[in-house]
Symmetry: C2
Subunit: 420 residues, 2 copies
């Protein structure tokens, strides 16, 4: 029986999340006997709640293919977590009503931990409500904090961006340090896990060698005196110090170095300004001239320097998701399994969504060097293959050609959704 599919992007977008979208649509189009149309949620799961469904069948083959080299979320993403199923069952039921109204039998949810949780709950409820639905999670997060999968699509590209940028900026400050700036700080993403900051360590040749000289992970409680000592040691040795700091860096008592004091839609503290906090320490306590960069959205949207491995994996999980759905699987997520590190190889396997939901993968303790400010050889071995290959987008007149889809929505069939 032919059923339509629903695909949605969730949470912070990445340089390659559209490659997963591309894979879902291209793979679905190969199986017209199983999958009718692929509807994409306008702005993620909100598109399902409010019945804003984009008809991807109206997009040309070339446009869908171009998603592979287009960053951002082509259909819009959202920071919206479904509320607790016990108290807000209406939201979950609404999803299933919308799916039912549009003959949707496949639900592909492309996101991080929160999205796995949602996909799992929808799967459970659909069973209870007697509406057969194949719910498949598709992993995506620059934070690399999903369990079971060796790494998350989206991470490899941000890791490459950070490693390349740190390498380049290090050459800059090295040139300037004799008579000017002595300390360069680069602030990167990573709320709870230091994966992205760790990637900055790839810019150095080997463990214990800078630059970068100091990496500050959320996993290691920040001790100001030790930090200042490490910075001064680098300046004494090399003439300058390059610091990579995770936005999630925190003191021993758990306080963030840069707590802006506001909350995002998921109730997480909204961070910002750890680079300036460190810069003030450096200036006030050591008297060095500093520069700082805040990579912010640039790091996760930098499709121009995306990793080929990351791109391939983002495509592979999207393709596998559709194949699992067609094979009748439910409440699972494709994961990346590393076969070999030295001559890097990997394959796709699956894990039950029930096991993924709301589990956060931290960096192993033995990825961080003894002094707390660097990465170990083990971390290098893990990270290095993920940034391999340059998946350049096409260019025109000096700028990358990124596709803009038509994003035509289909007519609504249901009354508007009113949240309780």
């Amino acid at each position: 029986m032919v059923k339509n599919a629903f695909y949605a992007q969730s949470g912070g977008v990445t340089a390659v999340i559209n490659a997963s979208a591309c894979a879902v649509i291209e793979t679905a189009r190969k199986h017209p006997d199983k999958i009718g149309k692929v509807y994409a949620g306008a702005n993620g799961i909100l598109g399902a709640l409010y019945e804003n469904l984009i008809d991807t069948s109206l997009e040309s083959k070339a446009s869908i293919a171009a998603l592979q080299h287009t960053p951002g979320g082509a259909f819009g993403s959202c920071r919206y977590k479904l509320k607790d199923i016990e108290s807000h069952r209406d939201e979950y039921e609404r999803l299933i009503e919308v799916f039912k109204a549009h003959n949707i039998g496949y639900f592909f949810y492309n996101g991080g931990g929160d999205s796995s949780d949602t996909a799992y709950k929808v799967s459970q409820l659909s069973e209870k409500m007697g509406y057969p639905l194949s719910c498949i999670g598709i992993p995506k997060t620059v934070d690399n904090d999903l369990p079971f999968t060796d790494n998350c699509p989206g991470f490899g590209s941000v890791a490459k961006y950070v490693a390349v940028s740190v390498k380049e900026a290090s050459l800059d400050i090295e040139s300037m340090c004799e008579s000017s700036t002595k300390v360069f700080i680069m602030e990167v993403m990573g709320r709870h896990a230091g994966w992205i900051a760790a990637a900055g360590g790839l810019a150095s040749a080997a463990e214990g060698e800078g630059p970068p000289h100091v990496i500050i992970f959320p996993e290691t409680p920040f001790v100001k005196a030790a930090f200042l000592e490490a910075v001064q040691n680098a300046v004494d040795k090399d003439g300058y110090c390059v610091i990579v700091v995770s936005e999630g860096a925190r003191y021993e008592d758990g306080t963030f170095l840069a707590d802006a004091g506001t909350l995002d839609a998921f109730g997480h503290t909204q961070l910002g300004g750890v680079a300036t906090t460190l810069a003030q320490f450096v200036k006030n306590e050591l008297g060095h001239k500093y520069h700082y960069a805040v990579a912010d959205y640039l790091q996760r949207s930098a499709r121009h320097i995306a990793s080929s491995v990351d791109l391939e994996q983002a495509y592979a999980v999207g393709k596998a998701a559709v194949e699992y759905a067609i094979a009748g699987r439910n409440a699972v997520m494709p994961i990346i399994v590393r076969d070999q590190t030295k001559s890097y190889s990997w394959h796709i396997d699956q894990v039950d969504l029930s096991r993924v939901a709301n589990v956060e993968k931290k960096m192993p303790a033995d990825f961080i060097s003894a002094d707390g400010f660097g990465i170990t050889q083990k971390a290098r071995d893990y990270l290095s293959p993920l940034i391999k290959g340059e998946a350049y987008p096409p260019y025109e007149s000096g700028l990358p050609c990124y596709v803009r889809l038509k994003n035509t929505q289909i007519p609504k069939k249901l009354p508007p959704f009113v949240a309780r």
Copy 2:
């Protein structure tokens, strides 16, 4: 008669200043009948003052060629401006003593306005002191603020970086704006001139179209009410607002929006934090969630996304400098002359250093749109050719291969320099 050459890099480095160095060395090597060795100043002009001369003849052909794809300043640069010639004649005389001691007959100074001034003064003094010296300026500055030359080597690559980054981050926030961030701010360099900020405008398709929706130039006095209105208009129209702001943005009374209150070695105010200033306005007055990026060193060291046109021009001015010197010219600087804009073509000409020194080129008023927040078609026509072509560096294991020279210094012949 064969004389040695001295080459030094000055001021902030760029993604392509080493391409000029490469051209100087490669071209000099082709003329052993005129130029003996090329000595590079360790850390710029300080290398001449303190007789720290790097023997570039010890570098292999391959290493010198690799300078073309290596960012930063391969011999070290400096923020050191020679003092006033009347009161500190000793510094200038010292330079000439060092040149004399090492049989240096050619002085190539690769920098911005301050460097042209120095090269010009050294040229004048060498005449007075009866020591024949060919002094050639080689233009370089990401700020694009040198007069006479159509554009400055280094600018095209930072322009490309900013345009590409704004385009990518715009796709990111567009994906997120429905339920999360509404305003993205990108802070770029440009102390007195808005050339770099203007390049962000290339990310949009045409004048009056966002993103970016708001560009803030140092040339246009900042009026908070007008800024907030423009931001809100963009949010109302597109659902989000992308802002590109120059670090040199200032109020009508000349105060910088982000005056850190410290001075650099040239006596310029050291800037930082304009993005956070704007972010607070957006949050406090409009209540929108924001993100901001500070590109800082990343923008000017991003060799991975350098412009081919910029690279070719950086090489061309270095080559021309040596050719001028060999032809017996003195106190001149090669400049880039634009022949055609539509089908872009250019050639190298020269200008007298006496005319360049300490003249700052501002952006023409008709490059900024009537509302003060965008670029005109005229600006687009000027900027667009400069970012053309992707001059990718080679990669290994996912990271660009940047060369590190041996930088062996020759024995000193003079007593140490002691500044008065």
